[in-house]
């Protein structure tokens, strides 16, 4: 169990779903931490020092030692503060959780961005198809479970917070239909449970702030046309 003399800092930006994952993990564990808002247009010396390879957020610093990549950070948090476990102790279940978290990163988060932030209709169509396919796999996977982690949220739920919070805003701005209750009833039900989970609610950024950013970014694509 970590001692009380811990120095825990999270570097991030409010709008990021990746940073949100780390907030959730820390709040789930009840860890006290300092949050530093970065500007990605004017990166701080601290960020460049702690993540020289990617220069991105989130960056997690524990007693002066930095870690980058949100899912790696979440696993580190789980191993360091061992109450309220985020991962199962069973190796096969852990492997499945890691598989699905990677799946969400590769097939949902990145691809949704590509579907939304493009002026190319063909790109939009192709990526939309891919996201729908990915959501269908998740629909099949959640079955009748409350969360991917079972009765409590786990690594996959934390990784997937993008789906209930960011996707509805992205699809609204771009006029797409991705996560709907009639297409994905079980996933939709899960998404509502996740959004209303006490710790998740506390960790989500202000909706208006994120929506405004998405809208600005989307509209800027069409300005130069």
């Amino acid at each position: 169990m970590a001692s009380n003399q811990e120095e825990v800092t999270l570097l991030g930006v409010t709008r990021s779903p990746f940073v949100c994952r780390v907030h959730i993990a820390l709040k789930l564990k009840g860890v006290e931490y300092k949050y530093v808002e970065e500007s990605l247009f004017n990166k701080s010396d601290l960020l460049l020092k702690y993540n020289p390879v990617h220069k991105k957020v989130p960056v997690f610093v524990h007693n002066g030692k930095p870690i980058a990549e949100s899912l790696l950070i979440v696993e580190y948090i789980d191993q360091t503060w061992t109450h309220n476990p985020i991962l199962s102790s069973d190796p096969y279940q852990r492997a499945l959780a890691r598989f699905w978290s990677k799946f969400i990163d590769d097939k949902v988060v990145g691809v949704t961005s590509k579907a939304v932030f493009t002026v190319d209709e063909k790109e939009r169509e192709k990526n939309t198809e891919e996201v729908l396919e990915a959501l269908q796999f998740l629909e099949n996977e959640i079955k009748d479970n409350k969360f991917f982690g079972g009765e409590e949220i786990g690594l996959v739920d934390i990784a997937a917070v993008f789906i209930p919070f960011w996707i509805p805003m992205l699809q609204e701005v771009a006029g797409l239909e991705l996560l709907t209750s009639h297409k994905f009833p079980k996933l939709y039900k899960w998404s509502q449970e996740l959004i209303n989970h006490l710790v998740v609610k506390e960790s989500l950024p202000p909706r208006d702030h994120v929506f405004a950013f998405i809208k600005r970014r989307y509209e800027s694509l069409f300005i130069s046309k």
Partner: protein, 226 residues
């Protein structure tokens, strides 16, 4: 040592660097397994049953439980088959760093070298070469001991296997010179040590076949782009 009632299967192709990662890890742990060689143009029913989502190799099947994604499989192997020859560090911070570099290899190095060698467009290939060199520079700086894992090989070494064996084959096949010994003295030496490690040596594909494979792939891309 694997118990008698454990059934372990690995689905892969002879030339796949990702399948080799799994095979090397099982070798290190002394685990017996059956290797199912796949033809990716004509995937077997078993492969499609065990990996319906991605339909790719490698797949590890342990007592009928299937796992995909080579790095996920490596962690599983490490957790199940004991700590005699640990592949990942036990300490959480070092473990996080090892995972970070393994992910870096997959996210940054692999796409870069594919782009550098096999893009149809010349500008894309040049950009790929730059990105490959950048990735190699980060790895060169990161390498401080005999192996990324220290005195013995670890997950980062296994993940970086492509650099030790596939990269030189690609360079020969398509005429690239990226991993030079003057620019990357540590990586060069590491490549030598790694390919000569007994667990790795047993599990390398035939170099000539690999070069021929890459030559053919390069030729078909260049032809198609004309």
């Amino acid at each position: 040592m694997a118990k008698v009632y454990e059934v372990v299967k690995v689905f892969g192709t002879v030339g796949s660097p990702f399948a080799k990662r799994v095979q090397i890890a099982l070798e290190l742990k002394g685990v017996q397994y059956t290797f199912f060689e796949e033809d990716l143009r004509n995937k077997s029913e078993l492969l499609l049953k065990y990996n319906p989502i991605h339909k790719k190799v490698p797949v590890l099947v342990h007592n009928e439980k299937a796992l995909v994604e080579s790095l996920v499989i490596l962690e599983y192997i490490d957790e199940v088959w004991g700590s005699d020859q640990p592949i990942l560090p036990q300490q959480p911070y070092h473990k996080a760093l090892a995972r970070f570099w393994s992910k870096f290899i997959d996210d940054k190095y692999m796409p870069a070298i594919t782009k550098a060698a096999f893009s149809a467009n010349k500008e894309e290939r040049e950009k790929g070469s730059e990105e490959t060199v950048e990735a190699l520079e980060h790895l060169e700086n990161e390498l401080k001991d005999k192996f990324f894992g220290g005195e013995s090989i670890g997950v980062v070494d296994i993940a970086a296997g492509h650099i030790a064996f596939w990269l030189p084959a690609i360079e020969e096949a398509v005429g690239l010179k990226l991993l030079t010994s003057d620019k990357f003295p540590k990586l060069h030496k590491w490549g030598h040590e790694y390919t000569n490690h007994p667990a790795v040596k047993k599990n390398l594909p035939q170099r000539e076949r690999l070069v021929a494979f890459f030559k053919a792939r390069y030729a078909s891309i260049i032809t198609a782009s004309k």
